[in-house]
Subunit: 321 residues, 2 copies
């Protein structure tokens, strides 16, 4: 049994997504000692969420810390602000307005808490323990329920003047395009390249093409997983859903490359399980929209870390680093 | 007469644009002692250009340095690479391929030479002597013959892994849109928001609207200056040319803000003489495309420095800083 030694620092790393929240106890060697998860979107009040989180984490603390206090808590959360500890107007979370998230967590657990954007946390995880080790310039794209990003330039995360830099999922890839279900903006990357966006594309396309295997599923079973099943069996419409998604992603990536000229773009999250169905068109449309000086230079890499671990390790690095 | 004192360092700052090249002698107090200019685009061979530059600079050196050597030369040039000293595949310059520009200048003048992107140089000038003093996060947009940019985050210029970061003029604002006259890309910001792009828009719109005052000019007199003259006299079509330009600029700026969340965007170059005709629609379309967390936070500022001085001072800072 892994009871923690007295000199060892242990941090709780928390990764809050629109659907699920994952957490883990991490020691100062970057080892995830134990982990768990709770649902995010069933808690309409942030205090209920924090109570549920505390209830889920307590058994782990008792098991591994045997009375010793946590060193601190690091949190990756959409629209989390590193400077202020607040979560502000997060379109994919149930809690609206400005939430003093770091303070609430800190008060509940009785230890210091630092927060950042979930994608920034993932980028930090990749830089410390993953595919971005040694890189000074890279962009991390998290393609899940939403689309997040963490941007590293000159070896540092870009937070911007207010702590909110790196909202690449909300950049517009098609002016006047698809209306976003939450922000209302038209043609944002997230409205196409998130799991939510893929489901919308799939539902539209299967309605146009009755012969598609996608029509064998009930409406609420159409998601990036079922589209992948159909694509894997050769369904041309399912393949087209991913090709279209990859095109929009690639067009966006070209613009990002011409902004910060990263060595690599790391892709992360549930959507990347579609593999080459998305990656190949993304690469094609990225390259064709780049100036020649940027072509065939930028690696697109699928994250090598276990999905939940990368974000948990990254969040914990807010305290450990 | 300003003969230079022996302890004083003097640098030649050079700003190379697609049409004109400006240069100035700058002392270590940031004072421009003297300046001049030559045409860029009449020299199809880079060595001819450097000979012409040397011939134009020599009288200034003789007048101000009285035999003392220059400390060095700093150059801002489109597609100039800070890391390698090369100019690579610059779409708006007459010299194609990879040019060892820093080496050629250094060999001709016999002093060290550092180069960077012209817009990075302008950003450095604004940070040292202009409207961006004290800012750690801002974006400089140069709207001239082409559209360039310099991005500062965490107090440093972003060069990217290869030295080419900050080519925001070539980001795509309208996929499948106007074909760029040089790069061939479709719908880039430069193809709309540069002086060249404005002339194209104006020629299209005046053909559609025979009643526009723009039709009082011969084809080759249609440029951002004449469009401004017509707009100032209330010509609705000329005003619409700038409104459309401002919309495309604003849509692009929204994406840039969601990338690096700058405190301010500095606009610089001949196009900004259109003033509110472009600024107002740019602000409107930037704000409406931003997530709420970014709204009404980002200042759009016209550069306060004299146009040529900012870039010359910025280029000289490559050596002086």
């Amino acid at each position: 049994m892994s009871v923690v030694q007295s000199a060892e620092r242990v941090v709780l790393g928390i990764d809050i997504g629109g659907t699920n929240t994952k957490f883990g106890l991490v020691n100062d060697q970057g080892v995830v000692l134990d982990k768990g998860s709770i649902r995010t979107n069933i808690h309409k009040e942030v205090n209920d969420f924090i109570d549920a989180l505390y209830a889920a984490v307590t058994p782990l603390l008792e098991k591994h810390l045997s009375g010793k206090a946590l060193t601190g808590i690091g949190v990756g959360v959409p629209n989390g602000n590193f400077y202020t500890g607040t979560v502000e107007y997060a379109p994919n979370l149930p809690w609206k307005g400005v939430i003093p998230f770091g303070e609430l967590i800190s008060a509940k657990f009785g230890v210091p808490c630092k927060i950042t954007n979930d994608a920034n946390a993932a980028a930090q995880g990749e830089m410390l323990f993953g595919a971005a080790q040694g890189m000074k310039d890279f962009i991390m794209m998290t393609l899940g329920t939403g689309v997040g990003s963490g941007i590293v330039a000159n070896g540092s995360l870009i937070y911007g003047h207010d702590g909110f830099a790196g909202e690449l999922g909300h950049t517009i890839v098609k002016p006047g395009g698809r209306k976003h279900w939450s922000t209302g903006s038209e043609g944002s990357l997230e409205s196409y390249a998130s799991a939510t966006g893929i489901a919308i594309t799939a539902k539209k396309m299967r309605a146009e093409f009755p012969e598609s295997m996608l029509n064998n599923y009930p409406e609420d079973a159409i998601n990036s997983k079922t589209v992948f099943e159909c694509a894997s069996q050769g369904d041309a419409i399912a393949i087209e859903v991913f090709r279209y998604t990859g095109q929009k992603l690639g067009e966006a990536l070209a613009n990002f490359v011409m902004f910060s000229s990263p060595e690599a773009i790391l892709l992360f999250g549930g959507v990347i399980r579609a593999g080459d169905f998305i990656l190949n068109p993304a690469k094609l449309h990225m390259e064709r929209n780049l100036l020649p000086i940027f072509r065939n230079k930028v690696k697109i890499i699928f994250s090598g870390l276990d999905e939940s671990d990368a974000a948990i390790l990254g969040a914990s690095a807010l305290i450990l680093s």
